[in-house]
Amino acid sequence: MSTVSRRRTRGIGVFGALLGLVTALGFGLASGSAARSSLTFNPVDLSASAPLHLGTLTLPTALANLVLGLAMAAIGVELVVRVPRRGVMARFGAVALLFLLALLLWAVRTTGPAPINFVNLTAVLVGASALTMVLIFGSLSGVLCERAGVVNIAIEGQFIGGAFIGSMVASITHDFFFAAVAGAAVGGLLGLVLAFLSLRYLSDQIIVGVVLVTMLSGLSSYLNLQVLTPFPQYNTGNLAPNLPIPLLTKIPVLGPVLFDQNGFFYLMIILVTAVSYGLFQTRWGLRVRAVGEHPQAAATVGIKVIGVRYTNVILGGAVAGLGGVAFMASQGQFQPGYTSGLGYIALAALIFGRWRPSGAVVASIVFGLSLYLSYNLQTFQVPVSTEILGMVPYLITIAVVSGLIGRVRPPAADGVPYRRD
C-alpha cells in the first residue's frame, strides 16, 4: 500500500474522529439533559403492504448523540491506528450516516425550535432513496464510461434527456416500460454522440460533455415551451407505481425502503450487481479495464480498443438515460432545470467511490441522504436559512473531492484519446 493511500486513510480517520467529537459535544452534551428525541418507524401510507407496526422510540437526546458521536470517533480512531486496507469507504459511509442521524435527533429534540418533535425514520429513508437511486444510475454510467477510458461529464445532459423523453412517453403510453426504453435510447444516443466525437475525431471529452449538457438544457427548455406548454397532455407527470415484494415489505423500516419501491429501484439493484460482477469477474470486464488503463497494451493482445469504448460509452449513456426516467418517475412531470446538477453530483460520487460500483453506491447513499435532508431540514425548523442548507450537498461534494480523497487514481487512460497507429 502506498504512502499516499495510507495518508488518505488516516486523513479520513482524523476527519471522522473530529466530526464525532463535534457531534458528541455540540449535538449531544450541549442539548441539555431534559431534551428528548423520538423516532417513529411507520410509513406514512398504511396500505396492505405496510410493514409490521413498531412503537415510538424516545431517547434522551444528549445521551443518544453522545453515544453516536463517540461511535463515530471510535471508527475514526480505528482508521488512524489500524489503517485497514479494505472497507475504508464503508467506514466513512457509516460515520456520515451516524452524523446525519445525530443531526436529525438534535433537530427534533422536544425543547428545540421545531413544532415536529419526532422524526419518521422510514419516511426519511424512503424519501432519500429516490435521490440515491438516481445518483447510483448516474455514477454507474460514469463507471462504465470511465473504466473504458472516456470521461462522461454529460451525465447531467443524459438525465435531462431521459427525464424529458420519459415524461413524454409515459404521458402518451401510460406505460413506464416504454418510457424506460425511450429514456435509455436517448441516453445511449447522447453517449453515441460523445463517443463519436471523442473517439473518431479525438475531441476534448470534457468540453464535448459540458457542451452537450448546455445543449440539452437549452433544448429541453426550448421543447418545454414549444411542445409541452401547448400540448400539456404530453407532460402529465404520472409517477411509477410501487411494486411491493410480498412478505419482505413486512420488515419494519427495511421493508418500505428496499422492498416497496418502483421498478426503477429494482432495476438499479440489478444493474449495480451486473456491472460489479461484469467488471471484476468476467472476461468482458478485464478487457474494459485493460482498455481504460493501457489501451496500447490492450490493442497488442487483440482487444478492439475503439470498439470497447464505443460499447461502454453507449451503455453508460443508456444507464444515465434510465436514471433520468427514474428521476422523472419519482419526482413528477418534466420541468426545465429540475435535475439541478444531480448529474454532476453523481460524477462526484463516482470519483469519491474511486471508480468502483460498490464505492459509488456508498457515496451515492451518503450524497442522497444529505441532499434529501438539506431539502427537507427546514420542515424541522433548524435555525439556519434554507439557502445556506441548500449549499450543504455541494460543499460536501467539494470537501469530498478535495480534502478527503485527495489524489485518488483514476483509470490511467481516462480521458486520454487513443490513436490507432
Binding site: 470521461v151 445543449m215 427548455s221 415551451l225 467539494i398
Partner: protein, 414 residues
C-alpha cells in the same frame, strides 16, 4: 486570371481555423433550423399533407422556408439592424434611437461576455478548465452591489472602488478551486461546478436576508446602485441607448489580455504550462503558483464581468442575475472555444453570441419561437468548432499543412 481564381478556390477549400469556424457557424444555424422545423406544429402539419398533392408539397416547402426565414430574420433585425427602420432614420433624420437600439443592446450584452470569456480563455490557454465563471461573476456582482449601494462617495473614487470590489468577489470564488487544485489535486471541473450552485444559493441568501435587500421589499431584489457607482450610458442618458462605458472596460481588458499573453513573462509561463506541463516543470516554472494565479486572474475577470453587468446594465441584483441564457459562465466557455481562446477571436465570438442572445429575444417576441433556440445554436456551433475534422469532412475541405488537434484538458489528470 484563371491562376488567381484557382488559388482563391484552393484557399476556400483548404482547412483553416477561420474557415472551420465559419463552416461551424453555418452548421449551427442548420441545426437550429432543423430544431425549428421538427418542433413547429404548423410546419409538421404542412409536411403531413405532402403525399396528397404537388401543391401541398410546394406549400410545405414554402411554409418551412417562411417559418425558418422569419425566425432568423427576426434574430438579425433584433440583434444588428432593421434595414427599413434604418432607411427611415437615414432619409428623415428621425428615429435614430430605434434604428440603433438593436446594435446597442448587442454591445451592452457583449461587454461583460467579452470580459468573462477572456478570463475563461486565459485559463484554457494554461490547460485549466474554469467552468465556474458563473459563480465568480455572481459573487463579483454581489460584492460590487455592497460597495456600490451602501457606500456613498464621489464618482471618481466610488466607481473604481465598486469595480475593484467586483474583481475581489470573483477572485475569492476563483481562489477556492485554485488553491484546492494546487494543494490537494482536486479536479477544478467538479469544484467549480459545485461552487456555481453554492454561489447561486448565496446570491438568494444575500438578497433575502442581508442589508443588501431593497428596504421595504420581501422579494429577492437588492438595493439600486447609487448613480456615482454606475457605468454611464456611452452616448448620454438622453440617447436612450443602453450601451455603456462597460464597453470601454471590456476594451481595456482585451488590450490587457493581449499584452499579458503575448508580451508578459507570466503570460508566457501560463502558455508553456498549458502547452506542455512537463516542459514547464523542467524549466523551473512553479506549477502551483501558476494554477493559483490562473484562477486569480480568471476569477477576477469573471467578477469584473459581473460588476460590469450590474453597474452598466441592471443597476440592481435579483434572483435571476446572470442566470438567463444558460448563464454567462457557460456562454463564456462556448465563446472562448469559438474564439480559440485568443483575445481578438473572443471579441468576435462574444459579439456573435451576444447578438444571438439579443436576437433570440426579438425572435421570441416576433415569432413565438423560444429564446432557448439561441443556446441550442451556440452549443451546436461549439461542438462543431471542437471537432474541426468533422467540419472538414462535411465540407470536403483539403487537409491543412499544419494544425493538430490540441486538447485543452485531458481527463482527471491530477
Amino acid at each position: 486570371m484563371s491562376e488567381s481564381r484557382r488559388r482563391w478556390w484552393h484557399r476556400l477549400t483548404t482547412r483553416s481555423p477561420l474557415l472551420v469556424t465559419l463552416d461551424a457557424l453555418i452548421l449551427g444555424f442548420v441545426v437550429g433550423a432543423l430544431v425549428i422545423i421538427t418542433t413547429t406544429a404548423s410546419v409538421l402539419d404542412a409536411w403531413r399533407a405532402m403525399f396528397s398533392s404537388w401543391a401541398a408539397f410546394g406549400h410545405a416547402c414554402k411554409l418551412t422556408a417562411d417559418v425558418v426565414g422569419a425566425a432568423y430574420r427576426a434574430m438579425f433585425t433584433g440583434a444588428v439592424v432593421d434595414p427599413r427602420i434604418f432607411w427611415h432614420a437615414l432619409t428623415t433624420g428621425h428615429g435614430w434611437t430605434l434604428a440603433l437600439t438593436p446594435l446597442s443592446e448587442t454591445l451592452t450584452y457583449a461587454a461583460p461576455l467579452i470580459i468573462a470569456s477572456i478570463g475563461v480563455g486565459i485559463a484554457f490557454q494554461t490547460g485549466i478548465f474554469n467552468i465556474g465563471a458563473n459563480g465568480q461573476a455572481i459573487l463579483g456582482g454581489v460584492a460590487g452591489a455592497y460597495m456600490g449601494s451602501l457606500v456613498h462617495l464621489p464618482t471618481v473614487v466610488h466607481l473604481p472602488l465598486t469595480l475593484a470590489a467586483g474583481i475581489v468577489g470573483g477572485v475569492v470564488v476563483g481562489l477556492v478551486p485554485g488553491l484546492l487544485k494546487a494543494y490537494t489535486g482536486a479536479h477544478e471541473v467538479i469544484v467549480t461546478l459545485m461552487l456555481n450552485y453554492v454561489v447561486a444559493a448565496l446570491l438568494i441568501f444575500t438578497l433575502l436576508s442581508t442589508v443588501l435587500q431593497q428596504p421595504g421589499q420581501q422579494n429577492d431584489i437588492s438595493r439600486t446602485l447609487t448613480p456615482s457607482a454606475q457605468l454611464a450610458p456611452l452616448f448620454g442618458a438622453a440617447s436612450g441607448l443602453r450601451v455603456n462605458w462597460g464597453l470601454a472596460v471590456a476594451a481595456l481588458v482585451v488590450i490587457f489580455a493581449w499584452w499579458f499573453l503575448e508580451r508578459s513573462s507570466l503570460g508566457f509561463d501560463f502558455r508553456v504550462t498549458g502547452a506542455n506541463p512537463q516542459a514547464a516543470r523542467a524549466s523551473g516554472i512553479n506549477a502551483r503558483a501558476v494554477i493559483v494565479l490562473v484562477f486569480v486572474i480568471s476569477g477576477g475577470l469573471a467578477g469584473l464581468a459581473g460588476i460590469v453587468q450590474l453597474a452598466g446594465t441592471t443597476h440592481y441584483l435579483d434572483g435571476g442575475f446572470l442566470i438567463g441564457n444558460a448563464g454567462i459562465g457557460f456562454t463564456a466557455i462556448t465563446v472562448s472555444l469559438l474564439g480559440r481562446n485568443r483575445p481578438v477571436g473572443i471579441v468576435w465570438s462574444s459579439l456573435l453570441f451576444a447578438g444571438l442572445g439579443v436576437g433570440g429575444r426579438a425572435m421570441q417576441v416576433a415569432t413565438g419561437i423560444p429564446l432557448d433556440l439561441a443556446t441550442v445554436i451556440q452549443s451546436a456551433v461549439v461542438l462543431f468548432v471542437a471537432t474541426p475534422v468533422l467540419v472538414q469532412e462535411i465540407f470536403r475541405l483539403r487537409h491543412a499543412a499544419a494544425g493538430e488537434v490540441r486538447l485543452a484538458t485531458s481527463g482527471w489528470g491530477s
